[in-house]
Symmetry: C2
Subunit: 578 residues, 2 copies
C-alpha cells in the first residue's frame, strides 16, 4: 500500500468500482450478514438500491438488468445461506445463458468463520462434535460462477474485487463476492479506483496470436468469396460478447442473406432487406428452412449449440462438411473458430469478426438476390375465441421500434420466431435454461436498465398465468416512478407448455385456480395502473392499441385462452418427447 | 430378480413405497423431466398431489408437512435444474434443522446423460467443445442431503430407493432421488414392497454395544440420584429423533423441573407442574434463568447447540464441568452422549433414554419442589396502539389445546419463549436456519399433515409483512377443502428484525409499500374467507376471539404495528451484533 494512500470502507470500494464501470443499480434483499455492507450504499449516491420481494426474484431482476443494459453486468446482494441459496436458480440461469452478474453475499464474521461456530443460516456438520464449515455455500457457488472471491485479507481485497469483475466481464458469467459482515466497513486502499479506471476493464486483449487471427479471418473470407450463396446466422453469444454492432456492420456491408435463431433473435435488424427469418433447423418455418438450406455456406456467429436454440441439434444439418455436398459451415464461437473440419481452439469471435471487417473486400463478396421469404404464421385453431396464434399476430402488429419485449418461458415463446421484429426492438427471453417464472422479475430488472439508459420505448412482458404465479409478488416493484410495463397475461388455466408434453388434463399441470388478475396491481399497492380482461379478438386488438399508446402507468391485459392451445412449433418440437 | 417377480413402473414403486411408510402427500411443481414420473401418481390413489406455486414454496411446504406429520418424512417432486435449484434453500433449511425430506428430481433421459448433450435446463461446460455434465446439480445436492441416489440401472432401483429412504429416516435429513425421465415408467421388480414392509423402516437398531448403552444409562441415572436439584432441558432433536413421548414419560415419572429452548419448544407439556419456562441461557426471562442456573444438574436432551437455540452459546454456562462448581451437565445427542467431561462418541439418545426409562428407580430420584416460576412478559412500548408485546399476550390468550402454531422468522419469533403453551399444542418455527418467508408455505404443508392426521385443532400462522411478501402466492393453496388457517399478519412496514440490527430507517429495510392485505384472499381466488385489519387493542382482541372460534374458512387478521417495535428479547439478543 502506498504511504499516502486513501482508505475507504470495503463496501464503498465495491460500490465505487461498480459505478466506475457504468453500473448504477443494485438488486437484492437485506439480511443479517449484509446490512453493514448495504450501509455503504449511502456513501455512494450514484448507486440506486432496488429491493426485491425475495432473492430469486432479485437474481432474475439482476439478470434482466444485465441483458438490457448491454455489455456491462448486473449486481445482486444477498445474505449468506438463506439468501444466496434462494437466488441460486436465478444465478444458474445467468450462468447457463452467459449473463454477467456480480453476486455479493454478506457472511458471518471472520472470527466465527475461523472458529467454525454454529451461527444461524448455516448447516452444521453431520457429526455435531466437529467444527462447522462457513465456506459450505461458497463451494456450491463455484458450480454456477466463473470466480468465487472470499474476502479474508483487507490488503488483498481491492485487487481481488477488480480481478473478480474482470473475470465476470471476460467470461460473461456470474461471479461471487463473499464479504464477512465485520469487514464490510473496514478500511481498504482506494488507490486502484484512480489508477485503474473502469473503462480499462472493458478493453479486451486478443486471444491467441495476431498472426493466427489474421489467418483465420482470411480463411473465413476466402470461403465467403468462393461461395455462391452464403448465409449469416446471428446467435446469442454475438450479443453477449458485445459483437452485435460488428455483425450488423458485416451484414450491411456484405448484403448477405441473414437470419437469427432463438437466442440470437433481435440482434440483427430484422427489417434489413436480406433478413430471411428465424432459422432453427428443423423447427424453422418451412420457407425459412428451405431458403437457408439452399445456401452453400452457413456463417454461424456467436453459436450456442444447445437443444432448444439449435432445433434439437438440427441447425447445421446439411452444412456439416462430413456430408461432402459442396456446402460449408463456419462457426464463430468465443472459445473456438471452426471452418468446416478445421478447429482453431482458443480463438474468439471477439478478434476474428473485427479482423474480417477490417479485411473485407466487398467486390469479392458474391452478389445474392434479396431473399423475399414470406412466412406467414401457421394457424392453430383454439377452443376459445382468441388463440395463441392470434396473440402472436397481435404482438406483431403492436410492436414498434425501440420496444423491449420480454417473453416468459411458456408455450407462447415458441411462437416468437414467427414474429418479424421492428428495427431497434430488443427481445429478452431464456430459451436454453427455460426457468418458468423468470420473465416477470426479469422484466422489472430490464425496466430499471431502460430507465438508467433513459430509453423511451415500451417494456412489454408476455407471460402465462402459471409462470406469473411463481413470481407474482414482484409486480409490486412496478410501484416506482418511471417504470410502466405493458403486461400481456395469457390466462390458460395452467402449464400449457407442460400439458403439451404430457398430462393435458392432469391435475399436476393445473395451477391455483380463479385468480383475479385484474385486481393484482391494486392489491400490491399500485395506485396508477390500468387492467382489462379480454375474451374476444376485437376486444384484445382494441385494448392493446389503447393500452399500447398509454405509456404513463403499469398496464395489464389479461387474455383468456384455451388450456391446450399453443403455437404450431410446440407440437413440432415435442415430437421427440412423446 | 425372482423368476415370478411382479414388475411395476419405477414411479409406482416410489409412490407405493412412500404409502407403505404412512406418507400420503407429495408437494411439488411439474416440469418437462418429471411429467412421466408424475403420471404414476394416478396408479397409486393413496397419494395426494399438492402442486405449489413455485418450488421454493414446495420445499417449505414439504418441510412443514414433515415437521407436523411426526417422525415420518415429507416428499417434494421437482424437475432438474430450474426446479431443484429453486427448492435448494428450502431443502437446505430442512438439512439444517433435521427435517427428513425425500426430494425426487426428474432428469434428462439416460442416453442424453451419457452423451453429455446440451439439453435445456442444464449449464454447459465453460469450454463449449467439451461434453456437458448432466450430474452437475446432483453434486451440489450432496451438500444439503444425507444421500444422493441417481437411478441408472433398473435392477438396482428398488433396493437403492429403499436404502435412500432408510438414510433419510436414520439421519433426519433430506435425501435426493434422481429419476431420468425415460426410466420413470420403466418396469422394476416390486418384490421388496411385499417382503420388506414399510413398518420395518421405522425399527431402529441400537447404535453401539448393549453393554455400553447400559453403562451410560447407569452413569446418567447415578448423576441424577446424587443431585439435589436436577433440571431437564428438552431440545429440538428429541422431537426429530422421535423421543418426545419417552422424554414426557421421563418428566412425568421423575417429577423433575423441566424446561425447553427455542427448537425444543412444545415437545414438553408446558402445563405440567414442574415446567419452569423456556430456557435460552442468557436470553431467557430472568426468573427462568435464575431458576435453571440454581439447579446442580442440567440434563440436556436432544441438544442442538447453535447460536440462536443456545442463547449465543450461553446455555451451558455454569454447568460446564471445567468450572468446578459442583455442577454437572449431561448431554444426550443423537451422535454422542456427554456426561460432564466424559464423551461417549457414537451413542444416541435413541438408545440411552429408553434404557434410562427401563432402569429408572423413582425412589432414588431427588424430590424437588414445584418450581412455580412466574415470568410475566417484559413489556416494550410502541409508537402504535398495539405493540408486539400485546400481540404475544393475545396469542397466549388465544391458544387452545390441540392448536398448531406456526411462527415465521421475524421479530415476533423472539417473543414466543415468553408464551406458555397449552397442552398438546405444537409449535413450528425455524429458529436456527431462519429463512424469512418459510412460514407461510410451511403452514400450508403443516395444514395438509393436520388434515391427513384428521386433527381437529386450529392452524395458526403468525407472520410479518416482509416475510409474507416473499412467498405470498402460496396463500392461494388454502383454496382447498379442509384447510382453514388463521393468519395473524403483522403489518409493520418492513423487515423489523433487520431494522433492529442496523438501518432502522434505511430504504434497504423497506418492503414494497401499501399492500392491501385484506383483499389478497379474494385476489388469489379464495371464495370463502374472512379478513380484518385491526389498529386498536380491543379490536384485535375481539377479532381474534371471533375469528378464532370460526374454523370454517381461511381467516386473516392484519395487525398494524410500529416499524421499530419488537419483543424485549430482540434487543437483548442483538447486543452482540451492534
Amino acid at each position: 500500500m502506498a504511504p499516502n494512500s486513501v482508505k475507504i470502507p470495503l463496501g464503498d470500494y465495491v460500490f465505487k468500482r461498480i459505478v466506475s464501470l457504468g453500473v448504477h443499480s443494485v438488486f437484492g434483499v437485506p439480511g443479517d450478514f449484509n446490512l453493514s455492507f448495504l450501509e455503504c450504499l449511502y456513501d455512494v449516491p450514484e448507486i440506486h438500491w432496488y429491493g426485491t420481494c425475495n432473492e430469486l426474484n432479485g437474481a432474475y431482476a439482476a439478470d434482466g438488468y444485465s441483458r438490457k443494459i448491454g455489455n456491462k453486468f448486473g449486481v445482486l446482494a444477498t445474505t449468506m445461506g438463506v439468501g444466496e441459496l434462494s437466488a441460486m436458480n436465478g444465478i444458474c440461469g445467468s450462468f447457463a445463458e452467459y449473463v454477467p452478474i456480480l453476486h455479493i453475499v454478506g457472511t458471518t464474521p471472520i472470527s466465527a468463520k475461523k472458529n467454525g461456530l454454529a451461527n444461524h443460516h448455516l448447516i452444521t456438520s453431520m457429526c455435531p462434535l466437529q467444527k462447522n464449515d462457513h465456506y459450505v455455500y461458497q463451494k456450491m457457488a463455484a458450480t454456477v460462477s466463473c470466480n468465487v472471491t472470499s474476502i479474508e485479507d483487507l490488503r488483498e481485497a481491492p485487487s481481488q474485487i477488480d480481478a473478480l469483475i474482470r473475470d465476470i466481464l471476460t467470461e460473461k458469467k456470474p461471479g461471487y463476492l463473499y464479504i464477512p459482515c465485520d469487514l464490510a466497513t473496514a478500511p481498504v486502499d482506494a488507490t486502484n479506483l484512480t489508477t485503474i479506471p473502469g473503462a480499462s476493464f472493458y478493453e479486451t486483449q486478443p486471444r491467441g496470436s495476431a498472426h493466427v487471427i489474421n489467418e483465420i479471418a482470411d480463411l473465413a473470407l476466402e470461403k465467403i468469396y468462393k461461395a455462391t450463396k452464403p448465409c449469416v446466422l446471428g446467435d446469442g453469444l454475438v450479443d453477449r460478447f458485445g459483437m452485435t454492432n460488428q455483425l450488423r456492420q458485416f451484414v450491411e456491408r456484405t448484403k448477405l442473406p441473414n437470419c437469427s435463431n432463438p437466442m440470437g433473435k433481435s440482434l440483427l435488424d430484422e427489417q434489413n432487406d436480406y433478413y430471411v427469418g428465424d432459422f432453427i433447423g428443423n423447427e424453422s418455418a418451412k420457407q425459412v428452412a428451405a431458403y437457408v438450406r439452399s445456401c452453400d455456406l452457413l456463417l454461424h456467429f456467436g453459436n450456442f449449440d444447445n437443444e432448444v436454440n439449435s432445433g434439437h441439434f438440427s441447425i447445421h444439418n446439411g452444412f456439416e462438411d462430413k456430408e461432402d455436398n459442396g456446402k460449408s459451415l463456419i462457426i464463430f464461437n468465443h472459445r473456438y473458430i471452426r471452418i468446416d473440419s478445421q478447429v482453431f481452439d482458443g480463438y474468439s469471435i471477439e478478434d476474428i469478426l473485427p479482423a474480417m471487417l477490417a479485411k473485407l473486400d466487398i467486390s469479392k463478396v458474391p452478389n445474392v438476390e434479396k431473399p423475399n421469404v414470406n412466412a406467414s404464421i401457421e394457424r392453430v385453431p383454439s377452443s376459445t375465441p382468441i388463440s395463441e396464434t392470434d396473440v402472436l399476430e397481435e404482438i406483431q402488429h403492436l410492436l414498434q421500434p425501440g420496444d423491449t419485449l420480454v417473453v416468459e418461458t411458456g408455450s407462447i415463446l415458441y411462437g416468437i420466431p414467427d414474429i418479424k421484429l421492428p428495427s431497434n426492438c430488443k427481445l429478452i427471453s431464456q430459451p436454453f435454461y427455460l426457468s418458468i417464472g423468470m420473465g416477470l422479475p426479469c422484466s422489472f430488472g430490464a425496466s430499471v436498465a431502460k430507465k438508467e439508459l433513459n430509453e423511451q420505448g415500451r417494456l412489454i412482458l408476455l407471460e402465462g398465468d402459471g409462470a406469473a404465479q411463481m413470481t407474482i409478488q414482484e409486480l409490486a416493484n412496478y410501484n416506482r416512478p418511471g417504470l410502466s410495463p405493458l403486461i400481456i397475461l395469457l390466462n390458460n388455466d395452467g402449464y400449457t407448455v407442460e400439458r403439451a408434453i404430457k398430462g393435458p388434463t392432469r391435475e399436476y399441470n393445473d395451477i391455483r385456480p380463479n385468480w383475479k388478475w385484474g385486481q393484482i396491481f391494486d392489491t400490491f399497492g399500485l395506485k396508477n395502473y390500468r387492467c382489462k380482461k379480454v375474451i374476444q379478438l376485437e376486444d384484445m386488438h382494441n385494448t392493446l392499441e389503447e393500452f399500447g399508446r398509454d405509456n404513463s402507468c403499469a398496464r395489464m391485459v389479461e387474455v383468456v385462452l384455451g388450456k391446450l392451445d399453443a403455437p404450431w412449433r410446440v407440437n413440432k418440437m415435442l415430437d421427440g418427447y412423446k
